[in-house]
């Protein structure tokens, strides 16, 4: 049995759900960013699989994946800078204890 598109879509769904679960249940802000990266990796696998099986000549999905990589790198940089600032102000990176901006 050869590999089909569904194998890759299944893998991507599993990764995305693991990432969302991590975002929901982790207390440390850095781990939230890590889980977000996992979810983005799942989305990228999805796009590359579609690119390989549906548009193998134009590589549309691979180009989208490069844009996703760009955005995720930018997001990680800015997010970590924000976490540094929060840590400097409140001496914690715990999502539960950062309650200054709670409405």
């Amino acid at each position: 049995m050869s590999l089909t598109l569904y194998h890759y879509l299944f893998l991507a769904a599993v990764l995305f759900c693991i990432g969302i679960y991590g975002v929901l249940t982790s207390k440390n802000a850095v781990r939230v960013l890590m889980s977000l990266e996992i979810a983005l990796a799942g989305v990228s696998v999805n796009l590359v699989a579609f690119s390989n099986y549906i548009t193998p000549a134009q590589l549309t999905g691979q180009i989208f994946t490069i844009f996703i990589m760009t955005v995720s790198a930018a997001e990680a940089g800015v997010g970590l800078a924000i976490i540094f600032n929060v840590f400097k102000n409140s001496q914690t990176a715990d999502m539960e204890r950062i309650s200054n901006m709670k409405w």
Binding site: K27, M69, A81
Partner: protein, 244 residues
């Protein structure tokens, strides 16, 4: 660090996994055993992703994140995306995770960690939401069952006829054989031809993120001290020129 046994265990898993990954890729590239490579890589990827989410030590989570990204690069290589595989290892496996590790080390105060996680009820509810809500929706959608959540609200007759669930044959997803091409040239041509404006926007986004991160990470007191020092220097220069 080396006396920490859990670290040694993680490191051993890491090295053996990379050896496994390379062998699986070699086996896959020979032509037989692409399935084997896929299952090895995806098992590695899912287990390390679960590790990132659940391991209590954040540094170990960072190492496992590297492993996740490297095995993602292996999956890309299986999907004939050679440029993307290299870029994934360089950008995500290298730069982003190094940044994460720095963040872990810089914010690792003694009073905060994941040692006190959320209550088990909360974790159970979110687990159920992810596995039986989101995952089920994604898988059903993949297999061609279209769950139309907006059906009760839509006034369009064509949309509302099925009462929620529409099944249709995903003919557009009919699987073609993958074509092995060298992707770098095609991607480069596409960037400067069809996707020129998104490419420029992405570069502007990167510039904005760079400046934003520097501005956010600089302490305000540093900037103020710099300004005060500059003002002092200027005053001194003025005094000197007046005396002259």
């Amino acid at each position: 660090m080396w006396k920490d046994k859990s670290f040694l265990v993680i490191f051993g898993i890491f090295v053996s996994a990379i050896v496994l990954l390379l062998t699986s890729l070699v086996v896959g590239s020979i032509g037989f055993g692409k399935d084997l490579a896929f299952y090895l890589l995806s098992g590695l990827m899912i287990s390390s992703a679960v590790g990132v989410v659940t391991v209590p030590n954040l540094m170990h989570a960072g190492f496992l994140l590297v492993l996740t990204f490297v095995s993602t690069a292996g999956i890309y290589a299986l999907l004939n995306a050679d440029f993307l595989a290299a870029a994934q290892i360089l950008i995500n496996g290298g730069a982003v995770t190094i940044m994460m590790m720095f963040a872990v080390m810089l914010t690792n105060a003694k009073n905060d960690s994941d040692k006190k996680p959320y209550s088990s009820e909360y974790r159970f509810v979110s687990f159920v939401l992810c596995c039986f809500g989101l995952f089920l929706i994604l898988i059903l959608r993949t297999l061609g069952v279209n769950i139309n959540l907006m059906a009760p609200f839509s006034k369009n007759v064509l949309d509302a006829n099925a009462g929620g669930i529409i099944t249709w044959a995903p003919s557009i997803w009919a699987v073609k054989e993958p074509v092995s091409v060298s992707t770098t040239e095609i991607i480069g041509n596409a960037f400067f031809d069809k996707y020129l404006i998104p490419f420029e926007i992405a570069s502007i986004l990167l510039l904005m993120a760079l400046i934003g991160a520097i501005v956010l990470a600089l302490r305000e007191s540093d900037i103020k001290e710099d300004l005060i020092e500059k003002a002092k220097v200027e005053e001194l220069e003025k005094e000197v020129s007046v005396k002259k």
